[in-house]
């Protein structure tokens, strides 16, 4: 495919068009997209994929601007996929992330793409995984994925990356109870942002709270989870972040965890794709047979029970 060569050469417009294809809801685009991704997977780059998640307004974009500037100043090439939460259900979206990434967006060694989340589960949009494969093939050293942390999203997002980072704000230590055990399994690094000005004390306290909570949940064979203090605005703590990322990556590679994760993620991906195909197939069958309206009418008229209806429809739908 011509597009593949162009992506590998790092042509900006080709990368962008390819991401459009993988995000497209059109069947014909999806077909090309599958071909494209199959080709690209054969030519993997060396990217490290890092996820940044956290509550709205905690400073994810500002942090990426700050941390990203630091990385590009060290000559790394940086791809950013920002899943913009500002989507509405009825209308379109305003994608404003770039107003917070002014400096890095100018840099020729960055590629920044915003995508409306469209209210999909976990704030991860359709095509994010594929988009990161494209950026990987295009030679980016790091791929950042920014998602808003609400509910399930951490879990979905953590399935797309090699390192998953949770960004929190000063004072959020109080909510630790709410964070519960789950998150410690998904996040590799905890970053307490806004460690500046009046907020400094609070930020340190929050970091301490996280540390103690994390040590409580730590499994025996696990590495100590890192809690880092940064200020995105004052650009402090950035060296620690990259050092920690590199450390974790190195250790994970050494212990085989890195590949293990990627293998798990592949499994998960395959499972997801299969489920998707089956689900859409079932949906199609359901609509074409028109069983649901037909049987619910019967239920309404007390001709059969709701569960009888479900059973009948299921059987009829799964029948080849």
């Amino acid at each position: 495919m011509e597009l593949v060569d162009k992506i590998i050469k790092g042509e900006r417009a080709a990368i962008a068009k390819a991401i459009t294809l993988v995000e497209s809801s059109k069947d014909s685009d999806q077909q090309i997209s599958r071909q494209l991704i199959s080709e690209l997977i054969k030519k993997p780059g060396k990217s490290i994929r890092v996820g940044f998640s956290g509550p709205p307004g905690v400073g994810k974009s500002t942090f990426i601007e700050s941390f990203g500037s630091y990385l590009v100043s060290q000559n790394y090439k940086l791809g950013i996929l920002a899943i913009d939460p500002s989507s509405q259900i009825t209308g379109g979206s305003i994608l404003g992330d770039k107003t917070r990434m002014v400096e890095i967006s100018k840099n020729p060694n960055t590629f920044i793409r915003s995508t409306p989340s469209r209210g999909t589960l976990g704030g991860i949009s359709m095509g994010t995984r594929e988009a990161s494969i494209i950026l990987d093939a295009a030679g980016y050293d790091f791929i950042f994925i920014e998602t808003v942390g609400v509910g399930q999203s951490e879990i979905v997002a953590s399935n797309l990356v090699d390192i998953f980072t949770l960004i929190v704000g000063p004072g959020s230590g109080d909510e630790l109870q709410g964070i519960k055990k789950g998150i410690t399994e998904y996040a590799d690094i905890f970053i307490v942002n806004k460690n500046d000005g009046e907020l400094k004390m609070e930020a340190s306290k929050t970091a301490a709270d996280y540390k103690s909570a994390l040590s409580y949940y730590k499994k025996l064979d696990e590495l100590e989870k890192q809690v880092l203090l940064v200020s995105a605005i004052e650009q402090t703590g950035m060296e620690d972040v990259i050092k920690t990322i590199n450390q974790i990556i190195d250790q994970n590679k050494l212990k085989g965890i890195f590949d293990e994760r990627r293998a798990d993620q592949l499994e998960y991906w395959i499972e997801e794709e299969v489920k998707n195909i089956i689900a859409s197939d079932i949906t199609n069958r359901l609509t074409s047979k028109g069983n649901i309206p037909k049987y619910s009418e019967k239920v309404m008229k007390n001709e059969m029970s709701m569960y009888e209806a479900v059973e009948t429809i299921t059987k009829d739908t799964l029948k080849q």
């Binding site: 900006r12 417009a13 209308g91 379109g92 770039k98 107003t99 590629f111």
Partner: protein, 717 residues
């Protein structure tokens, strides 16, 4: 209410209802401010006031009726026209002509590079030099600007906020080199940074150091420049950006409180500086509301200053400049603007302003020509000389309606002020972006009203002129101005004492690290011929440059059009587009260069999103090259350039070049909105611009055209 008057009122109400075939309650209308306007007011509407004192006198507490006892009966307001363009030489000529024709005070409009602390030779300002104001790079330019204008006699107002230090320093040094001691300089420096972060967008440094600079200037002038107003606390820009009158009033006074605190934190006594605080309001088309606003502003400020412990009566008194509203003026049928401006001017006068700028009828087209500026000035001369309005002080006092409106506005504004104070004051609110968002919400509502026709704008959405007149425009050759300025900068850099300049700049940088009053080292550097850009950079080294994070309103425009046919038509076109193309139409809305007019861009972005577009919102001050990268990486279907500060002929071709550089086959549609004189349409079309949307464009119609253009373009592939 006595029985007798009650009976009288009941009879009136019956007659009213009979004449109008309406219930009295249905005849009450709501203003943008959420104030109910009744078809009639009576003496009962003058009761239970908590702000207005019914029978107060002009020049007396609470100063509702004016800062002075005699007002215009003694001396009329100052005719102060805001102007500046191109080089200092040309602006100086223009000023001198105006003064000969009856203008009384000067008001300098600087160009955007100067505002933002860049020299004319900076790459970042290619399209902006001399375009929307006069370019000042060094004290030499400042001296030329006031050539043959004696600064000990002429009061000079300067709209400068971001680069306030080097510019005020240049003014002081220019005075000194003219032989005028700084203590004799009279006039005003705007020096109001908070509203820059909200709406005007010519900030340079982050809020905290910026507030420190404001306080430095208040301190310096209070000690050394007794005739100079240290600040012009401005609501004008808020209204122009879309604020209703309550928001304008409340935010302005809340800003004022913040400046008072900043000055007091330097150890100044409130009475040392408060008499030199001045204000600036916009006067829009809502005739009585604007009058009431000025009266309410004075009333509230007196109360606020008393609470600050002011003892000097002059500290309690709000003095203000006013400008008629530019945003009420239209590109279509532009002579109507003369009429609008006249009414607005009358409103300002009846409200008791101390000085006034009246806009030219070509406001929505370009900077004024000599001719349009003359008519604008004459509007005031006629008011002063022919109408008799100067003969009586505060002639509307005692009007049931106006007094009631004054009270209502005061109350509503006070509620907002109290709320902001509760949150910790305006600096905090501004940093959180709340006031900006509220103003944008208000602006979006106004746009929806005009686009839906529920608000009539003569010549725009009703009573259109079938034969639009074509008018002359002032054309500024920014490349020529830029070349001239660069030559001047070079000559100065060659002749000055470079080591001394370097040392002075280093001093300034050091001073920024502690509490030193920065104007002092700044004056030293400027004297040695450091440039405005160099001084700004010396401070930037310590403070950094501020980038605004922009928030966006959403749903406000769409809500107004629920069930509207035209709106739904665009929505369904977008759905269809998505079905065909696998995604929604995606448009990048951008501001390029130093143009900080973001009202239109923000409104268009939020309205388009409400209709179903995916809209990428670029940050302010993007270079064309950055826009191209952004557009291509996000694979947008179209770029909508919003341009109001006349940089389009430089910036748009640069954008086209930038797109082709990254992707020679780029098919991105480019369209342009904002202030584009008709004379430039051809040029833009030749540069592959697909459509132009000028002032007054209906956004729903524009959206439909955009989606059609995008679809056409895709079908060509």
């Amino acid at each position: 209410m006595t029985n007798k008057s009650n009976n009288g009122f009941n009879t009136w109400q019956k007659s009213f209802e009979k004449e109008t075939k309406k219930n009295f309650s249905d005849a009450i209308s709501e203003t943008d401010e959420g104030i109910n306007i009744k078809p009639v007011y009576t003496k009962d509407d003058m009761e239970n006031f908590s702000f207005v004192e019914k029978y107060s006198l002009p020049g007396q507490w609470p100063y509702t009726r004016g800062p002075k006892a005699s007002m215009y009966t003694n001396r009329p307001w100052t005719i102060r026209q805001y102007a500046g363009f191109s080089t200092a030489e040309e602006s100086n000529e223009f000023y001198k002509k105006n003064l000969e024709s009856g203008q009384k005070g000067l008001s300098v409009a600087f160009d955007l590079p100067t505002h933002r602390g860049y020299d004319s030779d900076d790459d970042l300002v290619m399209g902006d030099v001399g375009k929307a104001g006069v370019a000042i790079d060094t004290v030499e330019d400042m001296k030329i600007l006031f050539n043959n204008i004696p600064l000990d006699q002429m009061s000079v107002s300067m709209t400068m906020n971001g680069a306030v230090l080097p510019v005020l320093a240049s003014f002081i040094v220019a005075g000194e080199e003219q032989g005028v001691d700084r203590s004799l300089l009279s006039g005003t420096i705007q020096n109001d940074i908070l509203k820059e972060f909200m709406v005007r967008n010519t900030y340079i440094y982050p809020p905290e150091p910026s507030m420190k600079i404001v306080a430095d200037i208040i301190e310096f002038t209070s000690k050394e420049m007794p005739k100079f107003n240290s600040i012009s606390i401005s609501g004008y820009h808020m209204q122009e950006a879309g604020a209703d009158n309550v928001l304008e009033l409340a935010y302005t006074l809340a800003d004022g409180m913040e400046y008072v605190r900043a000055a007091m934190s330097k150890g100044l006594d409130v009475d040392d500086f408060a008499p030199r605080l001045s204000f600036f309001f916009a006067i829009g088309t809502d005739f009585f509301m604007e009058i009431a606003k000025l009266r309410a502003a004075r009333t509230l400020w007196a109360k606020i200053m008393k609470d600050f412990g002011a003892k000097n009566e002059r500290s309690l008194i709000l003095r203000t400049h006013c400008q008629t509203s530019g945003v009420s003026l239209t590109e279509k049928d532009p002579y109507n603007n003369i009429i609008r401006t006249s009414y607005e001017a009358l409103s300002a006068i009846l409200g008791g302003t101390q000085s006034l700028h009246t806009n030219s009828f070509d406001e929505a087209i370009a900077l004024p020509t000599d001719e349009s500026a003359r008519i604008a000035r004459n509007t005031q001369l006629i008011l002063q000389n022919e109408t008799g309005v100067t003969k009586t002080v505060d002639p509307l006092a005692g009007s049931f309606f106006v007094e009631n409106l004054t009270e209502e506005l005061s109350k509503k504004a006070w509620d907002i002020i109290t709320e902001i104070e509760g949150l910790g004051g305006m600096t905090k609110a501004v940093k959180a972006g709340i006031p900006k968002l509220k103003i944008e919400e208000s602006a979006t509502k106004k746009q929806a009203k005009v686009d839906s026709g529920s608000r009539v704008v003569v010549g725009v959405n009703k009573y259109k002129n079938p034969k639009e007149p074509s008018v002359d425009v002032r054309v500024i050759d920014n490349n020529r101005v830029r070349d001239d300025q660069i030559k001047k900068i070079q000559a100065i850099k060659e002749s000055r004492d470079t080591t001394a300049v370097k040392k002075a700049l280093a001093n300034l940088t050091n001073a920024a690290k502690d509490e030193t009053n920065l104007l002092v080292p700044c004056i030293e550097a400027i004297k040695l011929r450091a440039t405005v850009g160099e001084v700004s950079k010396a401070l930037e080294q310590v403070y950094g440059r501020h980038f605004a994070k922009s928030l966006s309103v959403s749903g406000v425009y769409g809500k107004h059009f629920e069930g509207d046919k035209e709106f739904m038509k665009v929505e369904s076109k977008i759905k269809e587009f998505e079905n065909v193309n696998g995604r929604r139409p995606r448009v990048l809305v951008v501001k390029m260069g130093q143009d900080g007019h973001d009202r239109g861009a923000k409104i268009v972005a939020t309205s388009f999103a409400d209709m179903g577009f995916d809209v990428d919102m670029g940050p302010l001050f993007q270079s064309p090259k950055d826009v191209a990268k952004d557009a291509i990486e996000n694979d947008v279907h179209a770029i909508g350039v919003s341009t109001l500060a006349a940089g389009h002929k430089t910036l748009v071709p640069e954008l086209m070049k930038g797109l082709k550089e990254i992707d020679p086959k780029s098919k991105i549609v480019v369209f342009v909105g904002g202030i584009i004189p008709e004379q430039d349409y051809e040029f833009l079309y030749e540069n592959n611009v697909s459509a132009i949307f000028g002032p007054g464009s209906n956004i729903i119609e524009s959206a439909e055209k955009v989606i059609d253009l995008i679809s056409d373009n895709l079908s060509k592939e």
